[in-house]
Amino acid sequence: MLAVRNLTKLFGSFAACDAIDLDIRPGEIHALLGENGAGKSTLVKMLFGVLAPTDGQILWRGEPVLIASPAAARRIGIGMVFQHFSLFDALTVAENIALSLDPGISLAKVAEEASRLSHEYGLPLDPKAHVADLSVGERQRIEIVRTLLQNPDLVILDEPTSVLTPQEADRLFETLAKLKAEGRSILYISHRLEEVQRICDRATVLRRGKVTGACDPRRETPATLARMMVGSDIAVVSAEGTNARGEVLLEARHLSAAARTPFAVSLKNICLKVRGGEILAIAGVAGNGQSELFDALSGEYPTSEAASVFIRQKPVGTLGITARRLMGAGFVPEERHGHAAVPALSLSDNLVLARSQSDRKAFIGGGLLGIIRHGAVKRASARISEAMDVRKSGENPVAGSLSGGNLQKFIVGRELDRQPAVLVVNQPTWGVDAGAASRIRQALVDLAEAGSAVLVISQDLDEIFEVATEIAVISEGRLSDAYPARELTREKIGLLMGGMYGKTEAGEAAHAHRA
């Protein structure tokens, strides 16, 4: 169906894709595997006409083609569902679909066609619903239906399950099976090995812009696939798990916060407790209030009531982030660039960013002048780099020059270096390579074992099961009760993500927590 020969894309001297060969046969689900930054997105952007290749050829049904634009890609029969949707919240489903079609087709006809297709493929959609009222899973269905309306022979899906609950993902897989049965090909991009093994016929693995393996994923084990992706074995995180529970160090009591922007989620009556020695993981699909919860717990946006957040049993709801740090709390936000770190500043300056007040004695001198002791800061930042195995070019490079994984190790290490009594981490290993991810997770486990309370907000269920002692689920700004990690299954978490938890389960949980 589609073949790629020697396809290369250079950004400056950096080869995002280096001489890639790829064959997709009719009627197969082909996986494109690789870590973040391996070149998956660059490759599919070239296939869909978003980027122009520097060198190499794309063959469509055996003929060399130039794909100059997404419109050209659609014309020859390539459709793509992006990871980030491009939908207008204020418009209805049918209107959004009509926007991507030729003008002149009546809205009624679009709606009719869309609902026919959506039923045929098991993607229930109400054409008259407003996008703003739909869940992420439903929004993704609009994108898929929109793509299918163009009757493509090849559908490219970029990380489609990263925004879905396990149940929604199962539904999507059924749809994909149906498309495959009709003889359409699917290029499925993912870094989730389990999914790929479940639904894909063949897989191409990318690492640093090169093809490092082509295989039948069903004949491989997750370990062999991971090795192809990463290039080496990954250390397994070991959680001994202490049973000795300390006192409650972090607590939220009926924490509510209004949404700050029209696109934010409001927090509704959130209660949680983390004891010393515990790791409470908060699972949930992206955009369900995770960042808002982080903001409220860290004090970046304090709440109006002091008694909504407690650190070491003192009410801190109205205090800012500096005051909370001084009480022994550390924070790691989700976004590295421009939130946890300033890319254009050096690592040592980025150390001052988080610790100018908590380590005032060590880092700041000169009395009222407040002179930064660059020597002391540099020594501390070298110590952190050493402890977390941060790989960098030069002594004290700018943060932006580090890879995502290495910068994240520094950002986590910056807090661990203080031995915080409370650590709140939002998406600790988002977009981080597997080696760094396992290093970071181990560090979180070690911190809890040393007696600190750790709260991990994560979308990655594998990560949650690796580190958590307790698990709660956030959905539309509400938090479920916390359950001991060994009692939960993926399916149960999936149900909680959908917001379907009742009173009886809450009773059970309270019981379990006491045990």
């Binding site: 982030i321 960013l353 988080a354 100018s356 002048l369």
Partner: protein
Amino acid sequence: MRIELEKRPQASAFYSVLSPFIALFLTVIAGGIMFALLGKDPFSALYGFFVEPLLDIWSIHEIAIKAAPLILIGVGLSICYRSNNWNIGAEGQFTAGAIAGSIIPVVFYEWHSPLVLPLMLIFGMIGGALYAAIPAFLKAHMNTNEILTSLMLVYIAQLFLDWMVRGPWRSPDAYNFPVTRDFAPEAILPELVSSGRTNLGFAFAIIAAIALWFMMRYTLKGFEITVLGQSQRAGRFAGFSSRKMIWFSMLLSGALAGLAGISEVSGAINKLQPIISPGYGFTAIIVAFLGRLNPLGIVAAGLFLALTYVGGEAVQLTLSVSDKVTRVFQGLLLFFVLSCDTLILYRIRLVLAGRPGAAQSGAS
């Protein structure tokens, strides 16, 4: 063929030093072409513009007098711009400072005391700061765009000054000219050296530049300014308040512009009149950027821009060209400085057409 800008992996240290000089060079070339088109000999014009003023002691003093307000305003603006607050209204704060500082010598002209001058300077700083507080308040609490509000306030300040000198503050002994009474001797900023007119204002400018350079380079406050300028969110994570930074940077730059205003009136003009500035507040924006928003760089840039004022006046006389020539030079300079800065972050590459199937497909 087309030109591509390619992002460098890291900012080029080489070009960040060289780019102001490339800009200068290009300005001189463009200026030479302009003189040639005006029918003047470009070489003698450029010589008169840039070299001659440096050759005699009188014009060197003139350069220092004109550089003082440019530097004083420019270093204040650099703090604003570093922290992502776009104060464009320094000209208005300069005027407000001049008016506030003149209250004592104009209204209480019969009071003679060594305290007069220090009080005038303090009033000037307060006046400039209060005037800058208006856009600061509007931005911090109403989320208005400070570029627009600070700029529009310039015209209000200038017209208010105009009204004051024609109305309430007009001197009774000036034959109906729109000026205030002359300042008493103790209200006049003393000269710095015996050889010429350079006054204490120049010393203020140098002290302010060094103090702010120290702040930016070594202190936590400087760090806060840099962080908030680069990323508000990271600043919030660090516990810095961008709202307080709006106030800090606007009041600081307003106060320095106000100090420049009263120093100019007290040191160089000795009274208030409808026009007290040849656009120092706007030219200081060029100075701030030409000096790379670095207080010490701004000292050099301020001296250079002052040279364009003095050189402009000189060629106006000798070659009888318009006084707009100076403005054109300053505009050219800002244009080239900003465009040469592209070289720091980007590499320029010429892409020749004709590589089959490659880069062209995107453009076709």
